[in-house]
Symmetry: C2
Subunit: 292 residues, 2 copies
């Protein structure tokens, strides 16, 4: 059994990006610049965005954090997005979700210039992904592909079962794993809340990607020997013995499933750390494409 070590791989990727940025600097070129917009004072959002900004610093990117009050109107946010679209110094930007209720999230995401949409949430970029065109792949699916690639996990002709049909993980993963090329060329089954007898389906899977958010949902009885497990679930489970009062728990009963698996991601330290690395990679890509 091999652990798919997202902490290590994301570190490697950040080092590679830092080396690229150093080359840009040495050549006197502009370095990538990521902006992050946050509306309101949600604690988790501030933590996420703060961590993205710190990662930018680490690899040598410029970064700008734009904090707007929770009372910001949709119109004001759209005006800010227009500014960022037109600002030649910004290569890519993200709008941290969730947004306050007075703002239509869909309208906001549609307003981002697709060439700066490093989250890959604009329908044009999502459509390109589904139509096998080059685009910004959303960070979590991109991170999963990268983990599979770095550990040379065979996917061609394998049966991949995806659990959950969310726009940011399940749906794009189901498409990416069935695309031509590697990692891809899998037979893919997408399961969700209406799926009957899920154990019967997971027990046929060569690869399982679970993005459900139900702690320890996937048990050893539901998988076959040598299965590859990608656990995208991140749930805080109360735990008095932990100093924080909770532990981060995945969708997979790691202790027992790992005994049957050929590859498995731990939680935490698997898919989670990959997402920021892939956001940085998309921002680097945005910079390079804008130079052409």
């Amino acid at each position: 059994m091999t652990i798919l070590d997202g902490k290590k791989v994301s570190n490697d990727i950040k080092n590679e990006i830092a080396a690229e940025v150093q080359k840009m600097k040495d050549n006197g070129e502009k370095v990538p610049h990521l902006a992050a917009v946050i509306v309101g004072e949600d604690g988790a959002s501030l933590t996420y965005v703060g961590s993205k900004v710190r990662s930018c610093e680490r690899v040598g990117f410029e970064s700008t954090m734009i904090c707007l009050p929770h009372t910001t109107s949709e119109e004001e946010l759209l005006r800010k997005i227009k500014e960022l679209n037109e600002n030649d110094d910004i290569d890519g930007f993200i709008i941290q979700l969730p947004l306050p209720p007075q703002i239509d999230t869909q309208k906001v995401l549609m307003a981002v210039d697709p060439s700066k949409d490093v989250d890959g949430f604009h329908p044009e970029n999502f459509g390109k992904l589904a139509l096998d065109m080059s685009t910004f792949i959303p960070a979590t699916p991109f991170g999963i592909l990268e983990l599979l690639a770095r550990y040379k996990v065979e996917t061609k002709g394998k049966h991949t079962v995806v659990i959950g049909r969310s726009h940011i993980v399940g749906r794009p993963m189901s498409i990416l794993m069935s695309r031509k090329g590697w990692p891809g060329d899998s037979t893919v089954t997408l399961t969700h809340s209406n799926t009957k007898d899920i154990a019967q389906i997971t027990s046929q899977a060569d690869i399982i990607i679970s993005a459900l958010g139900v702690p320890n949902f996937l048990t050893a009885e539901m998988v076959k020997d040598d299965v590859v497990i990608i656990d995208v679930g991140i749930t805080r489970v109360p735990d008095d013995s932990s100093p924080k009062g909770y532990v981060i728990t995945g969708d997979v009963d790691f202790e027992n499933v790992s005994k049957k698996a050929s590859f498995i991601t731990p939680v935490p330290g698997g898919v989670g750390p990959m997402t920021i690395a892939m956001l940085l990679k998309n921002t680097l890509l945005a910079r390079v494409q804008r130079k052409i």
Copy 2:
């Protein structure tokens, strides 16, 4: 066993659209106007486009057929598309495929204004489809959804197996059948040329949508009792006993599979006739949306 009669349903839809158009005329409103661009003199393409134009006439739409020589450059075609994008009289238009080799198809499809893209081939529209937003659904998948809806075929919680991952049928069908709502909410498996042991997968399916183009590929041994069969295959098989010298044959061994099926589309007369009806429906939708 019930035949999913595409000929009848497409006729019903055309009659419904004609009634809508008559209402528009009675109210003194502009009627929908579809333009079709064809490059070169490919016989099959001319037949398809001619049939689309005749259908427009039948339901009371205005239509324009633009025939460009096979020597047309990419630049000339892009200029024509710009004209159509800007022409307020045109509600929707299509570029008949395939295009001659000197023209980059992807570039051309990207140039169509998404609000006039009644074929639903622009990545922005495809992305909206995948993100559960309102959009133009490509004609063949839209026709399949409509057949399932009109015959009240239950899809929720069913296992749908899609054969073939093409951009115009297999990929969008796999997404649409797994979306929330009806027809949808299926557990969906997408299979393709790299799938191993396809019979083992199809024999578990409640619904099979085959878009492979291999005559009589799906046999009775590969399906379970009461399966729902949607056959998108259209292959010309040489046949001396036919006046045309060929017969149109689907992916499904109809004679034997129909004995086990609960619902089945014939070929011809199943999915085929639905596509033009749904193109008209998208054009009507384009007209209505442009008025808002």
